[in-house]
């Protein structure tokens, strides 16, 4: 039997598609690069990853232009049918711009880009995205963004991950990642695809990719 298919989206300016694809392979699934102009997801797509980067150079607003591409209509259909979607960093911004997740990502309170390893606290153990970890358990995953302060009404989403300790970017309730109320669409600013390998310091990001095929 062939491996579970995971579409890894690629817009002009997407940067993390290769590392996201490696992370998909790491959980035994088959990554398929899917381009912005495509009007449908690859045949048999089980889940979708929208990797980070600077789609369209962040022109207008981060994620704004990518959210209007043909492929995002297909991703929206996939999500409405209950299919899993994981948006990382710029992917999270694209999900908010598409309306698949509530809220917006505002510029960091410092108005500067920040790249840092972070401790993320599991806030809601009931979504599929943290692999059954208990609330309060900690994942070490790096973040790196200029526009990562989530702003919105927390009650419209499920808060999955919070920054532990100080609030690095000024997001509401120290939110690092949320899912929709249905739990099948997840967005987070930190980069789980860069926490896959002990040589790079942490493997805590695997749980989010494992959730794609769970």
């Amino acid at each position: 039997m062939s491996a579970t298919r995971v579409a890894v989206l690629r817009f002009p300016g997407t940067l993390d598609h290769e590392s996201a694809a490696r992370a998909v392979e790491g959980v035994g699934a088959e990554p398929v690069f899917t381009h912005h102009e495509d009007t449908a997801l690859p045949q048999g797509t089980h889940a979708v990853v929208i990797p980070g980067g600077f789609s369209y150079g962040d022109h207008l607003r981060p994620g704004a232009l990518a959210s209007r591409t043909p492929i995002m209509a297909a991703v929206t259909g996939h999500a409405k049918d209950g299919g899993k979607v994981l948006g990382i960093c710029n992917g999270f911004q694209i999900l908010c711009e598409s309306g698949l997740l509530p809220g917006v990502l505002r510029p960091n309170a410092s108005l500067s880009f920040i790249c840092r390893q972070a401790d993320l606290e599991v806030a809601d153990s009931g979504t599929p995205w943290t692999g059954g970890r208990l609330a309060g358990e900690v994942l070490s995953i790096p973040f790196k963004h200029h526009d990562g302060a989530w702003f919105g009404t927390p009650g419209e989403a499920r808060v999955v991950l919070r920054y532990k300790g100080g609030n690095p970017n000024g997001s509401i309730d120290k939110i690092a990642g949320i899912s929709n109320l249905g739990g099948n669409v997840m967005g987070l600013m930190p980069h789980p695809e860069e926490a896959q390998d002990p040589l790079l310091g942490s493997t805590d990001g695997r749980v989010l990719f494992a959730a794609l095929i769970a």
Partner: protein, 735 residues
């Protein structure tokens, strides 16, 4: 046929306005056998500028070692390449963007990154790491704070958006860089040997294809107006000569060039940098021994009414020039369209050896390309030696009443303090191969798809070079190489960016010549040839010259990525080791805080032995950590290893001439390391040929303490960390 030279707008001859000397203009006329057209004259002025021709420095650069068993491609191409096994080569180069950054720091620094990345792309490689070496005036100056802030933002803006991790570098502050800041950027790429591209144009009838951005008026004369003259009061007027960067386009260009190369559609590739199309086309023609005919009317323009000379020298960013076989043109254009970029056939390879340009159907340029690239007049620089330096009389240096306070003051020196404020603004991780992030001795990046890794760093010993350029050139190489060696990597090759003042004045020429000689001797001793480099002269203002600043980039190789060593202490109870050679001195130390005295002479051969010892320790996994002792001496190195590990240490050292000199002095080649005490004998057995291994203490506790001859410096780790981390942010916020 010879006529009178064209007059410029200011009433002086055009060639003079363009920066050519009378003698140089005469040489142009003599070579051409006629009066050059205006576009031709503009081209000569750019190509014969110091920035493009190295007319004051090239005769000196011949002393560098440039060959070795690993060298795949040496200096002369867009970047150098060295073999790293598995059929792969590592490609790298460092380049300056000093003058544009002094005029407009955000775009100056941003396009500095863009330029060096295109050099790596041009070789056919995939960029995998960026580094920066930055120098500004002191942070009590509002202008220096502005330049520092904006240059860092510019580097982040561009580097983050193109998706290349920034893994290291250095930042220094000194009033000598107040007017002439230095922004040097290095890029490292990886490419299979058989995919390496040359810039040499080949194949008569092949097409000349301009790829990427449209051409506008930005950056006209950047190489001559900005980069080849001293800075002065009218710098603001030069702002139009600074280019504007678009990292989104660069990313698309990067992806496209790799895709074109992967598909085998390129005969040759060259980036457009200083002097734009003129430089790129003449380099490609000269290197290939062919001619190139350009139809300027086919160049996609961003604005109306540009003169042919402007099109020829515009430094509009994010452009590449390719040679493509006619049969592949459709495929190239289609691939470019899919990347949302232009690829335009603007001319062809000819057998004339000449660079030709048509404008509105008329020939406006016909120059044998070697005239532009090879026939520049070279100049000998005056070599007036400065008097030899005298050692500092230690008796004249007051002993600190409280060694702990002196330690804290040193940790707060912005030159010593944590550069977290800088590197947190850079994406250090994109690509998921960064194993050792900025802030340690060297960045360590896994070579994608392999179990190998490279360690890379940029470093310079400018104070030492000012005092004794030969020894300082050596020290610059050895400090950089020691950083790489501390990760367990074997230094295999080097790149350099020689930042100097006006070589025609004072002792700058002598410093340039002597420091190159010192660098060459050190590089030979450690077996790391130079494969690429850059020279930036005229870093000088009415207030004076910069320090001679030979920035050295070293690439080291780890055959097993998992053996790399970090700089942070790891375990309570580990032994602290001092490995290396040399006696610390206060001369030219951060402890005294002035460029004065006679620092100890480096010993390249002993450093080479030290590097072998560290590499062997890594291979056998004997060390927990290793950290170079450099600025701030043993005290700062020990504190940094403690802060990194979040754990204290207690050590005891021989006091030498005086305790404070032993604790804070600099010099020699020394490394603070830590290991499981059970490994001590195995490590000590490796000590040989002047390199000693001494256990000086133990990791553990909440304090960091150094005892020397009965005097003790003891400071809580939390205090050292607070001062060290807080210094630069506080200096920026206080204003």
């Amino acid at each position: 046929m010879s006529g009178a030279p064209t007059m410029g707008e200011s009433g002086t001859p055009l060639y003079e306005e363009l920066g050519l000397l009378d003698t140089e203009y005469d040489r142009v006329v003599q070579l051409m056998g006629r009066t050059p057209t205006d576009p031709e004259l503009v081209m000569f002025s750019l190509m014969w500028s110091e920035h493009c021709s190295y007319k004051h420095s090239k005769p000196l650069l011949t002393g560098f070692p440039t060959t070795g068993p690993r060298v795949v491609m040496g200096p002369g191409e867009n970047a150098g390449a060295v073999d790293v096994g598995d059929g792969l080569a590592i490609v790298f180069k460092v380049e300056s963007h000093n003058h544009p950054s002094a005029v407009e720091p955000f775009q100056g620094a941003a396009t500095g990154v863009g330029g060096i990345v295109r050099d790596i792309i041009a070789v056919g490689a995939k960029p995998i790491a960026l580094l920066d070496s930055l120098r500004f005036g002191t942070l009590d100056s509002a202008r220096s704070r502005f330049l520092f802030r904006r240059a860092v933002e510019g580097i982040g803006h561009y580097g983050n958006c193109i998706g290349i991790p920034n893994v290291g570098g250095e930042v220094q502050f000194d009033e000598r860089y107040e007017d002439s800041c230095l922004v040097n950027a290095m890029c490292v790429g990886v490419v299979p040997h058989d995919a390496i591209l040359s810039c040499a144009a080949r194949g008569i009838g092949n097409r000349l294809v301009l790829i990427g951005n449209r051409t506008g008026r930005d950056g006209i004369g950047g190489a001559s107006v900005l980069a080849s003259a001293e800075l002065g009061d009218d710098d603001a007027d030069k702002r139009p000569s600074v280019q504007v960067g678009d990292p989104f386009t660069e990313r698309k260009l990067m992806d496209l060039c790799q895709a074109l190369n992967h598909a085998g559609l390129l005969v040759a590739l060259q980036d457009l940098g200083a002097a734009g199309l003129t430089s790129a086309a003449s380099e490609m023609a000269s290197r290939g021994g062919v001619g190139l005919a350009i139809d300027l009317d086919r160049v996609p323009l961003r604005e109306q009414g540009m003169a042919p000379g402007e099109v020829l020298v515009s430094e509009s960013q994010e452009r590449m020039l390719a040679i493509v076989e006619p049969a592949n043109m459709d495929a190239v254009v289609e691939m470019a369209r899919r990347h949302e970029l232009d690829a335009t056939d603007i001319g062809e390879v000819t057998d004339t050896g000449e660079l030709e340009a048509l404008w509105q159907g008329e020939e406006v340029v016909r120059i044998p390309s070697p005239y532009l690239t090879d026939d520049v007049p070279f100049y000998d620089v005056p070599r007036d030696a400065a008097p030899p330096a005298q050692p500092i009389d230690l008796a004249s240096v007051a002993e600190p009443g409280d060694l702990g306070q002196a330690w804290l003051a040193l940790m707060a020196d912005p030159n010593v303090a944590s550069k977290r404020w800088v590197f947190e603004q850079y994406d250090q991780l994109v690509g998921a191969n960064t194993m050792r992030r900025p802030g340690g001795d060297a960045g360590v990046v896994r070579i994608p798809g392999t179990n190998r890794a490279i360690a890379v760093t940029l470093d310079c010993a400018e104070w030492h070079t000012e005092i004794d350029p030969y020894a300082g050139g050596m020290a610059s190489v050895l400090e950089a190489a020691r950083n790489v060696a501390c990760t367990g990597a074997v230094p295999i090759a080097a790149t350099d960016c020689l930042n100097y003042a006006n070589p025609e004045k004072g002792s700058t020429g002598w410093r340039l010549a002597e420091s190159i000689r010192g660098m060459a001797d050190a590089l030979t001793a450690i077996g790391a040839p130079i494969v690429s480099g850059n020279v930036s002269l005229y870093n000088e203002s009415p207030r004076g010259p910069i320090f001679p600043t030979p920035v050295v980039g070293i690439v080291g190789l780890l055959d097993d990525a998992s053996t790399s060593i970090g700089s942070a202490f790891g375990r309570h109870g580990d032994a602290v080791l001092l490995i290396g050679y040399g006696e610390p001195r206060v001369d030219a130390s951060r402890y005294l805080g002035r460029c004065d005295g006679a620092p100890p002479a480096p010993e390249p051969a002993t450093d080479a032995t030290l590097f072998e010892l560290l590499a062997e320790c890594a291979r056998r996994r004997l060390l927990t950590s290793a950290h170079d002792v450099s600025e701030g001496g043993l005290a700062v190195a020990l504190a940094e290893s403690c802060i990194g590990g979040g754990i204290g240490a207690e050590v005891s050292i021989t006091p030498g001439r005086r305790a404070d000199e032993a604790i804070f002095g600099e010099g020699g080649g020394r490394v603070i390391a830590s290991c499981d005490p059970a490994q001590l004998d195995a490590i000590a057995a490796l000590a040989t040929d002047g390199v000693t291994v001494a256990r000086i203490g133990t990791v553990g506790g909440d304090d960091v303490a150094i005892e020397a001859g009965g005097s003790t410096a003891r400071v809580p780790l939390s205090d050292l960390a607070r001062v060290w981390e807080g210094s630069i942010p506080e200096a920026l916020e206080a204003q």
